[in-house]
Structure formats: structure tokens, C-alpha cells
Symmetry: C2
Subunit: 343 residues, 2 copies
DNA sequence: CTGAAAGCGCTAACAT
DNA sequence: ATGTTAGCGCTTTCAG
């Protein structure tokens, strides 16, 4: 039987309220002597506060809820989730909160899911890259719990933490153009996610504005994964005519691309330049190291915690858009003269 | 104001116990008509069960607690954590549990940490690769909550989920020897973790038993990271005499090794063979793809959940050791005649 | 078959 | 300065 404040009170012949105040250091003041004795017997009895009971009366839990990206729990295997989660954990740690990951978020499961997130275990929720078509944000009951989201732009009032995908893709492409590239292909992915959609659209827009050729056979779906990028790269690189550069909409695809190129003995960047997106750990681990647009995912995770904390405190919270930054590494260079083509 | 069972009871002029039984489908049976009306008004009122209250009386929370690897929260950034967590999440999902990640586990912080894990929010705990010297398992109060651990061999009664590091390293080295290698180096790492220690020790033992040369300058600390592996590889590969093969005690280091080799224009596997450990996502994403000993981390995460569930149910739980399996890819081959040296 | 009520452990308003 | 007590929302024993 675990000790409770009642036990401490009984032992010391004082009231539970005094014990509570002594233990919590307030709001009521307790004489030093009494406080010391309370602490001592608490230690003696092996007393451990029960946070369920405390939460029930205070309405606060000191835990943040997280909803992993996508509808599938498998998304938890992505570097994206890993890095954002890491930012969330370290920020949560700093404010003495723990983090509850909700598992049951699936299409058609909305009501049970809502039951879960409203059941009192968390003070608020962070949705990580929720899937595009989800109905969850339309659920009237969801407003009962404070929530923010990352990497998703919805026309609703949920505070969002995003990175500027459009500027990121644009800057990456500008860099390639400045290097002298005109024939630029793209590996896109995950068109059910806002990041996927926006990066794809930004590519199209830039190429159109810059009056550069958009060739369908140079634009492939790489699924945001190394394996997808590898397959897409193979089908792209085995064509008669290939671009001098490829924009990969995330680093995992860029890694897959570079591997395919190596197998095909196409040198990166001598014969084809590659630019990635995210600055994921893989990008700096492979040969050649991948030039990429850094998305500050860890900071975004931290920002999500801050925004959620503010929201919970009743403070106003605005959307935040983080800037991307070009990280120049080894996978992109000037196109060599003999690979250049002219339309 | 959220609706409670009291509200439902009041509306229908029945008792809260009937409402509770209707909602839960037992243990007491409730006439269909009443049950239907209870469910209807529950929906009407937007009733959501409060799990804190429920947990307080039942003592069950439907949530598992996780303690990330190492003492530093930063360990959450490792592929190890990511993959095991993924296994845990999917297994937890299947048994309708959520997962609470505890943040405050640090040396010297034991007592606050114990407060946290004993505060009633979880039914049990999974320690992921706890640091070697931790005092936490000696804490008498920890026995109050069921717990298991992964990737850690301690001489205590905590049920452990491990992989057979010794056999794994041995099989990897056997494979290299069968290919014809005798001059074998090693990149080890994290000697504060059991996995790190055991793999290091297994290498030494195998080499001794097989009467193969152990050369200190071929044995480097690569910190289990790509960057560490890269640095270690540089210092290893820029020596006058280099081995024909290198055992990397995890795949991240192998990836770093391969990158360094590429930069130094040392061909893998033609000039030097590399074998990794874990079969982490990176291993199959780089060029050349890394031959590795697969450690079934996702299954181990799932097994941890199963073991913990059993423990919580009061069932006996034994240690489990998972076998590793050689995954032959492209980074290891027979040594070429001209790289072979003879002592 | 159903209702009343105790109680899980805690906080805080309300006494004194 | 301290004690008493009413809940928080729920489950379940005990009465009827």
C-alpha cells in the first residue's frame, strides 16, 4: 500500500491540508519546523505524490500529447518524426513535462481518437504533419483541448508551425541556376502532405517563372524515402537525355538518388548535381555529402512546445513560419560543358 | 463544462452506476432499452470518459512508459531509439495503449525521476538501452512499477530484451574470414552501453581465438555515429598499412567509414571490405550498400511491450535474446590479391 | 434489477 | 496559523 498524504497527516497528527501545503510549498505558508517534519515523514513512508489525483483536481497534467505524422503509425519511423520529436522532448524536458504519444489516429477512427485525447491525460496536443484530408480538425470536440500542428497549412484556426517550403525550393533552384543549370529535374513525394504538395508546386512555379524547361520525364515520384528516390533516380537516369541537376524534395530521396547514380557510374556532381531538402542526418553522412536546404526541424519541435504552452496559458498564438537555409556541400556544382544541352 | 456520468444519470433519472455499467458493457448487465438511451444521451451531451478518474479507481492507465536511451535526452535522435520506438508504438497500438515518454532521466536526478514514474500515469516502464552505470535499478522504490529493459544486461532481476551481440559479431567476422580476410580492423563505440562493450569484447575474443592479428592502430572509437565513424576511418585509412576488412560495430559508423573511404579513393569493397551491425535504414541507402548483421530492433520493441504486458498481468517473464542475421550486401567481398598482406 | 454511497488521493475553499 | 470538508469523475460494494 503506497503512502498518501493522509498517512503523513495521521503520523504527525496534523491535517491533510497542512501536509499538502508543506509538500507543495504553498499556496498557504507552513512553519519551517512543521514543513521539515512533513518532508521527513514523507521520505520515511516512501510517499510518492499521485499525479492522477492531483491532475483531477487541478486540471493540469504536466504532459503534452503528440500525434505522429500521417494516418499510419509507421510514419513514426521517418527521420522527420525523429527529429521533431527530439526537439519536442528537449523543450518539454525544460518545462518539466513529459510527452504522451497517441497511437490510435486512423481514418474512420475519429471518435475513438477524440475520446482518447480528451480523456484528461494531456494538457494539449501537437499534431505532427497531419495528413491533408483529415477530418479531425473539423471535429467540434477537438476545440476542447488546446492544440497546434507542424508542417501543415490548413485554412483553419489551428496554430501552425511551418517552414517556408516555397522560398526553400526557390532558393535551392536559384542556386542551381546561378551555378549554370537550366535542365533541372525533380524528385517529389508524399502529395498527401502539405510539405510534399508545396515543394512540388514551388518547383513548377519557379521553372515556369524562370522560363526553364519542365520535362515530365525528369519529374518523378520518390515517395520521400531512400528506396523511392533510388527507384525514381534509376528511371530518370537511364533515359537518353538527362538533366544536369535534380532537385530532390527531401534528403532521403537525395540519398537514394546518389546511390543510384553511383551504381550507374554517373558522377555526382560532375555529371549531375543534386540538391536535397531538410538537412536530415543522412545528408551529411553519405558520399558525396548532399547540398541541401536546411529546415530547422528540431527548433520547430521546440517552437511547437512553446506555442502549445502559450495556448494552454490562454495566451494568443500566431502561426510561425521558419526560414530555410542553403547548406552547401558536395553534391552540386557547375554543370560541365559536355553535359550541358541547349534547347 | 464537460458532461459526466452524473449528467447522463440526471437527464435519464437513473443512477450513475447504471450509466457506468451501460457505458462499459458490464460487469453488471443493463437492459437493452436503458443501455440504448444511455448511449444516446451520452452522445447528445458530448460525454467523454475521464480516464484520470477511471484510472484512479481501477489502478490501470492503458499507457506504457518509456525511458529513452542513455542519460541524455539527445539519445532520442538515434536511429536505435527511432526503430525500437516504432516497434513499441505499433505493439502498443494493437493493445490499445498509448506511450508516455519520460524526459527527466539524468544522473543525480533519480529521486525526482522515481517520483515521476511512480505518479500513476503508466502501468509499466520500458527502459531503452539504459546507461551502464545507472543507479536507477538499485532504487528500492522502482520495484513498485513493473518494468523491463532493452539492450542491457544487468545482473539483476529486471527482465531484459536483448540481441546476441557476441554471436552477431562472431558471425560477421566468420563471414569475413571465410571470404579470405585475416587483417581485420574494428570501429567500436559507446563503451558506456552494453551493446558497445559486448561487441568490442566479442571482436577481441574472436580475433584471439582465431589467432588473427589484433593491431591497436586498426581499432578505433567511432562513437556509434556517422561523423565518428568518418573521423575514425580517416585516421585508420591514412596509415601506411591498412587492414583488408573492417568490422563496424554499428551501421552509422559503417556509413561514415564508407564515406571516408570514398573521399580517399579507397574502393569499398575492392580495396577494403566493411561489415556493419544493426541493419539500420542507412545501411541499405548508401553506396555501396552495407553488408551487416541485422538486429531485429522493431521486433525487440514489440517484444518489450509484450513482456511488459505479461509482467503487468502478473505473468512470469523471462529474458529474451534475439538472434542476429547476416544481411549480405555490397560492402564486403574477397580481398584482392594485391591488398593481401602476410605476416 | 437498480439506487445510494463509499472511496481512489489530492487541492482548496471554508471554517475556526 | 491550522483543521474540516467538499469535491474532481469514476467504479463498485452494499442495500434494497
Amino acid at each position: 500500500m503506497a503512502a498518501t498524504i493522509k498517512d503523513i497527516a495521521r503520523v504527525l497528527n496534523i491535517s491533510t491540508s497542512t501536509v499538502s501545503y508543506a509538500l507543495n510549498g504553498g499556496p498557504r505558508t507552513v512553519p519551517e519546523g512543521v514543513k521539515a517534519r512533513v518532508l521527513a515523514t514523507a521520505a520515511d513512508l516512501g510517499y510518492r505524490p499521485n499525479r492522477l489525483a492531483k491532475s483531477m483536481v487541478t486540471g493540469k497534467t504536466s504532459t503534452f500529447g503528440i500525434v505522429p505524422p500521417g494516418t499510419s503509425i509507421l510514419a513514426a519511423a521517418s527521420p522527420y518524426f525523429q527529429i521533431v520529436l527530439n526537439g519536442i522532448l528537449s523543450a518539454a524536458d525544460e518545462v518539466d513535462h513529459d510527452v504522451l504519444i497517441f497511437t490510435g489516429f486512423r481514418d474512420g477512427n475519429e471518435d475513438r481518437f477524440i475520446d482518447n485525447v480528451l480523456d484528461g491525460r494531456v494538457d494539449g496536443l501537437i499534431f505532427l504533419a497531419p495528413p491533408k484530408g483529415t477530418q479531425i480538425f473539423a471535429h467540434p470536440e477537438l476545440t476542447k483541448v488546446p492544440h497546434v500542428m507542424t508542417n501543415c497549412w490548413l485554412d483553419c484556426s489551428v496554430p501552425a508551425i511551418n517552414c517556408d517550403n516555397e522560398a526553400g525550393i526557390r532558393d535551392a533552384l536559384k542556386y542551381l541556376v546561378e551555378l549554370g543549370h537550366r535542365d533541372i529535374g525533380m524528385l517529389y513525394g508524399k502529395l498527401d502532405l502539405d510539405d510534399g504538395i508545396q515543394r512540388h508546386a514551388a518547383f513548377m512555379e519557379f521553372m515556369t517563372d524562370a522560363q526553364l524547361p519542365i520535362r515530365a520525364e525528369w519529374i518523378k515520384d520518390g515517395d520521400f524515402t531512400p528506396a523511392g528516390g533510388y527507384t525514381a533516380a534509376y528511371s530518370l537516369l537511364t533515359q537518353d537525355r538527362i538533366p544536369t541537376a535534380v532537385m530532390c524534395c527531401n534528403d532521403e530521396m537525395a540519398v537514394g538518388f546518389v546511390r543510384a547514380a553511383a551504381e550507374l557510374k554517373i558522377s555526382v556532381p560532375d555529371q549531375i548535381s543534386v540538391v536535397g531538402f531538410d538537412d536530415s542526418p543522412m545528408a551529411s553522412s553519405v558520399h558525396p555529402t548532399i547540398t541541401t536546404m536546411r529546415q530547422p526541424l528540431e527548433e520547430m519541435g521546440r517552437a511547437a512546445v512553446l506555442a502549445l504552452s502559450a495556448l494552454i496559458s490562454g495566451l494568443p498564438v500566431r502561426n510561425q513560419t521558419f526560414s530555410t537555409r542553403l547548406i552547401v556541400r558536395a553534391s552540386a556544382s557547375r554543370p560541365s560543358e559536355d553535359t550541358k544541352t541547349h534547347d
